[in-house]
């Protein structure tokens, strides 16, 4: 039977999580030959409030394109974490920004806490690339798409002129994930 892998990216509006979702989906679908969908849900209004972006990756048809049984959930804010944890599957991965999300919800899942935003500011001097760092981490942790594919997808989707910093951010994410794995051992997937 076809596999179905669900990623939910959550945070607040304007954090660039829709872009991350699109890049991830494009990497899977265009470069890795899988099927993928990306969808999002906005706050009460077009901007602000908790927001989420979801990617479903499968080698078969994807009917329902919303996450129900999440493999990996990224939460960049506490509000998003509290609101969107519900559909994380048993044993799934909760990836949080270790500084923004301080109250980790109860539940049967694996927690990966990394100072994503801080790394963006400190290592790249740009708050704005937090999203791509998160993408790197997810790529590494999930193993669902190849790094090369994601790299190509980043190049095709980010604004002209920002390719390099975003690629650097992506590898920063991969590195942070690797470090975490080195320190905490492999995830159960």
């Amino acid at each position: 039977m076809a596999f179905r892998y669900e990623v939910r990216l959550s945070g607040s509006g304007g954090q660039g999580l829709i872009l991350v979702g699109k890049v991830l989906a494009e990497a899977a679908a265009i470069y890795d030959g899988l099927n993928a969908t990306q969808s999002q849900s906005y706050g009460p209004e077009a901007r602000g409030g908790a927001s989420r972006s979801e990617v479903i990756i499968s080698d078969g048809d994807i009917d329902y394109p919303k996450a129900e049984n999440i493999d990996i959930l990224l939460a960049l804010t506490q509000e998003a974490c509290d609101k969107y944890i519900v559909d994380l599957k048993e044993g799934g991965v909760l990836l949080i920004d270790s500084q923004m999300v301080t109250k980790i919800p109860e539940g049967n899942f694996q927690v990966v806490a990394i100072p994503i935003i801080q790394s963006a500011v400190e290592r790249l001097g740009k708050f704005l690339v937090s999203n791509i760092i998160a993408l790197g981490i997810i790529t590494k942790l999930s193993g669902i798409v190849s790094e090369d594919s994601v790299k190509h997808a980043i190049r095709s989707r980010v604004p002209k002129g920002t390719e390099e910093i975003n690629i650097t951010a992506f590898y920063t994410g991969i590195e942070l994930a690797q470090k975490w794995l080195d320190q905490n051992g492999p995830l159960n997937t």
């Binding site: 699109k22 890795d32 099927n35 969908t37 969808s39 209004e45 090369d148």
Partner: protein, 380 residues
């Protein structure tokens, strides 16, 4: 990593709609921004000038609909796109396009209603409005896509049907499909079967713009083609001029309605899954049909004989297809993000002869496969 196929795109539904319009030959778009349809305008504002076409943002939706009709009369394949509130505003001019038989495509990417409602959330609340939103008796064609690829195909089909039947066609999408990014293998243009309006073959002095001919579809001259005729929203006769003669009016209005009715088999499209031996039939359309499909597959995996009937054409309503396919089933489930607009028509089609269970949701959240599955397995 594989070498990507350049024809494979990761597109949003709205982007696919815009690109398909270009492929279908659309060279004019008039719009007014509204969530969640705006991307269609945004893409076309960039893309149309590249192909020598024209994009214009009008002062409101009424003007956008008017300009679309004007452009079509000028010879361009023309489109406009909007969502709920804008769709309500366009209704008067949609009626004009129906009455004057001006081909054009109107996209409604549905969001939560009524009123301003839920601008960023999906709904399917305009099934009935797309049929009856403008005043007076009139026919209309409405198509509803469930995926990004189908948005592409149906947009092309909408143009083709509009040109073929000289009528406005409504593409009834929804926020979920419109904003969903999904893989699309763009078909080669030769495969699209592009249809263009039938031009008059007679000389201008013999031209009857609303001719009662054998096909019921009069040929259409563009303004400037040398046929100088009159177009009006008043009741008119074959010449296009207003008339008060009851007989002439009756035959024209009958032809107008028959023009769609008699070709309904060409227009109506449905899709079925596992219906051959089903004893529970799920009926759905648009984005909700995706959940329905999964629910049916899940049910089959549990050994339950569920089947899916997906409506691709909403109007003319696939009543005969529904009646036939549902004949052997024990129960029908209609899943839709409204309060039962399609369900009511399904009941009509099936003479309320068997239970029609409604799975409805109007709070902005999509209907999940599980909710439909639960309806399938419910004892009733």
């Amino acid at each position: 990593m594989e070498t990507p196929n350049p024809n494979v795109k990761m597109w949003q539904g709205n982007v696919a709609c815009a690109e398909a319009a270009l492929a279908a030959g659309c060279r004019f778009f008039a719009g007014y921004p509204i969530t969640p349809s705006t991307e269609i305008a945004e893409v076309l504002s960039r893309r149309l000038p590249m192909v020598g076409g024209n994009f214009i943002q009008m002062e409101d939706e009424i003007a956008a609909m008017g300009a679309t009709i004007g452009a079509s009369l000028g010879g361009a394949k023309a489109m406009t796109a909007t969502s709920g509130p804008g769709f309500s505003l366009k209704q008067e001019n949609i009626g004009f396009a129906v009455m004057a038989e001006v081909p054009c495509v109107i996209v409604n990417v549905q969001r939560g209603g009524p009123s301003t409602g839920l601008p960023t959330h999906a709904a399917q609340g305009e099934v009935m409005q797309s049929r009856w939103g403008t005043h007076g008796d009139h026919p209309i064609i409405v198509l509803s896509p469930c995926s990004v690829r189908e948005t592409y195909d149906m947009t092309v089909r909408a143009f083709n049907l509009a040109e073929k039947y000289r009528t406005p066609v409504i593409l009834l999408s929804d926020e979920l499909v419109g904003h969903l990014t999904e893989k699309v293998e763009v078909p080669p243009i030769e495969q699209l079967g592009i249809v263009n309006r039938k031009k008059p073959l007679v000389s201008p002095d013999k031209y009857l713009p609303y001719e009662l001919n054998e096909s019921d579809i009069p040929a259409m001259a563009n303004f400037g083609d040398g046929y100088r005729y009159h177009v009006t929203g008043l009741a008119h006769d074959e010449t296009g001029f207003p008339t008060n003669n009851p007989e002439k009016i009756q035959v024209q209005l009958e032809r107008l309605n028959r023009k769609i009715d008699r070709y309904r088999d060409d227009i109506v499209e449905i899709e079925t899954h596992y219906t051959e031996d089903a004893d529970i039939l799920v009926i759905s359309f648009g984005s909700t049909a995706r959940s329905a499909r999964r629910a049916v597959i899940n049910a089959r995996e549990k050994g339950i004989k569920a089947g899916l009937l997906r409506l691709k054409t909403i109007w003319p309503f696939p009543d005969r297809e529904i009646e036939e396919i549902s004949a052997p089933v024990r129960k029908i489930i209609v899943a839709e993000m409204n309060l039962g607009q399609i369900a009511h028509e399904v009941e009509w089609a099936t003479r309320r002869s068997k239970p029609v269970v409604r799975v409805n949701k109007i709070n902005g959240e999509p209907i999940t496969p599980n909710e439909i599955f639960n309806a399938i397995i419910a004892q009733d």
